[in-house]
Amino acid sequence: MGTTASQLGKDLLSEYQELTFLTKQEILLAHKRFTELLTKDEKDLPNTRVPAERILTLPELKSNPFRKRICHVFSTSEQKDGSLTFEDFLDLLSAFSDSATLEIKSHYAFRIFDFDDDGTLDCGDLEKLVNCLTGETDETRLTTEEMRQLINNILEESDIDKDGTVNLSEFQHVISRSPDFVSSFKIVL
């Protein structure tokens, strides 16, 4: 049921069109770019799993500060090492595509920001998130005082049930008020 050689069967193509938000051209382009990442031997095997290091050489992901989290979230491997099969890759592109809904984008955004994978965004997650956004070097980090003030402000604004963390509903509530989110949460090959 996986992808073989360099051809995508027609039924597989229409199945992917039904299960993702991608158009036919986008799926074919994704297939082309994915097979470029495979070595010669891997090309013959169906359902190859490409390790995260090779996925991260794609120019669209290479400089993204969330690249490791993205690979981790979309990976279906048992070892949780961030490796992706072609279908995981399509899931990734579908969530980041032009026509994906706000619900699915906000769901995956939440998972990407949840650095410790516990289902909520607590202070540690928020701090790591802000550091990713501003850059990891010392001159671009916020001072501890600013960080503390910022996290307090964020929790005050979005933590509605006042439990000290931001859960998915609260996150989606904030996202739904932002008009730019859908257009910026986009990766197009």
Binding site: D116, D118, T134, G135, I160, V174
Partner: protein, 701 residues
């Protein structure tokens, strides 16, 4: 960046295998799994797997969920699809027919979208711009593209209804009314006499005079012919008038339609003040950013924004703590600075008035000097639009508004300056054409307009607008070549302190958008007098797109302070609407008040341009006349007005109901949270008691 999930004794990794979006609070309450050593800080983890019963119900009750919207890996989505396909829902044949229809409609929509994206203009370029420079700059180029398409479609309209019939029926047809005016008013000879020097052709091209004046470009060339065939009649003056009016209405509809989508978003967000920090942190990253440089810039951008916002918050706290005396001083300063900026703007207007006056009085000059005099109003307007905002920026530093307020105030001042300076130009022209509205003055008694200076005043106005358009384009190109490219070369190759301080050019979105709005307003004002102006404007905007794109990629660095893209689109359209209303006022006034030239044009022998409509009206059939009278009468309009009031009240009520339900749901969410805390405490209490009992029981044994 630590991304591996780490397992502590008391924590479990969150299981995301059920993609239900909103987990549903009932699920979390029912299926919560608590680990043994949970403290007050560690909240229990939820398992999002719903019980199988729930899933079946959902599958049967509603339409099959859109598979693409389920946040599960592909293999699980396939499983869900198989389950859906196996479940034969008990639905009526009508229901299943409806579902099939919606499915095929979805497929059709997807295909249509694929086709349309093929035809969209410049989509690749826009994507590249957005990825490298962000949404703010991209919104400028999207706005430019919208204007290009608008102008092109309007040109097709004008060409179809005015230009082509004029060309076809030029020799055929007879004039509507015979000449009845005084002989002097009808003298109009725009063709150049005698030998024409070669470079005059170039000057004529730039100023619309000479060989360009008596051509399809300007109003004066069109005749008031009516073609009457056996079953075909075409009234060119009427067509000219109606096309102009329809052109304005069409532009208004396009702008409002585009504002509709942007407005919806603005209303939903309800202003950017609330939830600012969470919004920045959760939504500001642009995943389309390509390359290390763009990423670092975006990070610096976000860092800057956060710092600025945090600083603004502390400034606000300090401002609230100002003493009364300090507040009075600050407000007095702001009021006086407001007056100063207003004074600057008035000074600019006076300069434009003087320049236009001078230019019109000396319009007979030949050669280069004549060209300069012709372009004097445009030069003064451009200089004013360049200097006054610079000075106002300096004034804004003294006023010390909050940063966001400063941007809005600067923009409003610039808009006011631009549009009203155009208004001053038009006012000056009007006062000269109609002798300031008094027809008893010597020059204007004979023909109700100044026939000595303006034998064909409409063409003259058209020429002014044509010159403004061309000059705008020329200035843009000149600034590009002479200022931006050299600046970049200097900054890149000369590493001195001064060069670094000046830095590379920044693409300032608001100023550029105002330039576009100004250009479009000029075109709208001039379209009645220069029918080909929309075509010229289309070409101008297309050229501008490519020039601006080149300068963006070669000379500019991304702005440190971003301009929010969606609220800004709405703002651009509002400003465009201001320009449109200015042009509409001009058009309505020209149609109804000023006497058309007797020597040229399709409305030669009418007291005003609008009077052709009543005249043609009486040529219609009786029934049509009665119907139109009925529509305009009170019996029709009063019930219509009452009906629209009722509909508006309905929508207002609906909107307030939605607002109330949002507030209610938020309160409910808070209560649920408190429920959760209460239950967690209870569970802890019980487990502690259980533990104690076990302990004491063990001790006994």
């Amino acid at each position: 960046m630590a991304s591996e999930p780490w397992r502590q004794g008391s924590r479990e990794v969150h299981d995301y295998t059920e993609g239900n979006g909103y987990p549903g609070d009932q699920h979390s309450l029912r299926l919560r799994r608590v680990s043994s050593r949970v403290s007050n800080q560690n909240y229990p983890q939820f398992d999002w797997n719903p019980p199988p019963a729930e899933k079946d119900e959902e599958g049967n009750r509603a339409q099959p969920r859109d598979l693409r919207g389920i946040p599960l890996p592909m293999a699980l989505k396939r499983a869900v699809r198989q389950v859906q396909q196996m479940q034969v829902p008990v639905v009526s044949s009508r229901e299943s027919w409806k579902r099939k229809k919606t499915k095929s409609l979805h497929k059709l929509k997807d295909n249509a979208r694929g086709w349309l994206s093929f035809f969209t203009l410049w989509s690749k370029s826009l994507q590249k711009i957005g990825g490298n420079f962000g949404g703010g700059v991209q919104s400028y180029f999207l706005f430019l593209r919208f204007l290009v398409v608008l102008n092109f479609v309007s040109f097709l309209l004008i060409a179809g209804f005015v230009l082509i019939p004029s060309i076809v029926f030029r020799s055929v047809g007879d004039s509507l009314v015979n000449s009845t005016g005084p002989k002097e008013c009808m003298e109009y000879d725009p063709n150049p006499q005698g030998l024409v020097v070669f470079y005059n052709y170039f000057l004529n091209l730039l100023s619309g005079t000479g060989f360009m004046e008596y051509s399809y470009l300007f109003y004066g060339y069109y005749n008031n012919t009516t073609v009457e065939d056996s079953n075909f009649s075409y009234n060119i003056p009427l067509a000219y008038l109606f096309t102009a009016v329809f052109y304005f209405a069409f532009c208004l509809i396009c702008i409002i339609a585009r504002m509709g989508t942007a407005a919806r978003v603005v209303v939903v967000t309800g202003g950017s003040a609330v939830g600012n920090y969470s919004m920045i942190v959760f939504t500001s990253w642009d995943y389309g950013c390509l390359g290390d440089r763009a990423t670092k810039l975006k990070q610096k951008n976000i860092h800057y924004r956060l710092q600025v916002d945090l600083e603004e918050e502390s400034i606000k706290k300090r401002a609230a703590a100002l003493t009364l005396c300090q507040k009075i001083v600050l407000y007095a300063l702001r009021v006086s600075m407001g007056f100063v900026s207003f004074g600057l703007i008035i000074a600019a207007f006076y300069g434009i008035f003087v320049a236009t006056d001078f230019s019109q009085k000396n319009s007979g000059e030949q050669g280069i000097l004549g060209l300069i005099f012709e372009y004097l109003p445009s030069i003064v307007i451009t200089a004013g639009n360049f200097l006054v905002p610079l000075l106002c920026d300096q004034i804004a530093l003294i006023e010390r508004y909050a940063p966001s307020t400063t941007v809005i105030v600067a923009l409003l001042r610039a808009v006011f300056l631009r549009l009203v300076s155009l208004g001053v130009l038009l006012f000056t022209l009007w006062s000269q054409i109609t002798c300031a509205g008094e027809t008893t003055v010597k020059d204007c008694t004979l023909c109700q307009y100044n026939y000595n200076v303006y034998p064909c005043w409409e063409t003259r106005v058209g020429q002014e607008m044509y010159k403004l358009t061309l000059f705008d384009l020329l200035i843009n190109i000149v600034v590009l070549v002479l200022v931006e490219f050299p600046r970049r070369m200097v900054v890149d190759n000369w590493s001195s302190k001064l060069a670094q301080w000046v830095g590379r050019q920044e693409f300032v979105v608001p100023a550029n958008v105002l330039g576009l709005v100004y250009g479009q307003t000029v075109v709208w004002t001039g379209a009645l007098f220069c029918p080909l102006l929309p075509l010229i404007n289309t070409i101008k905007f297309v050229l501008l797109f490519y020039f601006k794109k080149i300068t963006l990629f070669y000379n500019c660095r991304p702005a440190l302070k971003t301009f929010r893209s969606t609220t800004s689109t709405f703002f651009f359209l509002v400003v465009l609407l201001f320009g449109w209303s200015l042009a509409t006022v001009v058009m309505i006034y020209s149609l109804s008040e000023i006497h058309p030239s007797m020597g040229c044009g399709p409305f030669r022998f009418f007291p005003n341009m609008w009077s052709i409509v009543p005249k043609s009206f009486y040529n219609l059939s009786e029934i049509t006349q009665e119907f139109l009278f009925f529509i305009g009468s009170q019996e029709f309009s009063i019930p219509l007005f009452a009906l629209s009031c009722v509909v508006m009240c309905y929508f207002i009520t609906l909107a307030s109901v939605y607002g109330k339900s949002v507030a209610l749901l938020r309160a409910q969410l808070k209560l649920e949270g408190r429920d959760k805390q209460f239950l967690v405490k209870q569970i802890e209490e019980l487990s502690r008691q259980h533990h104690i009992l076990k302990h004491t029981a063990g001790a006994h044994d």
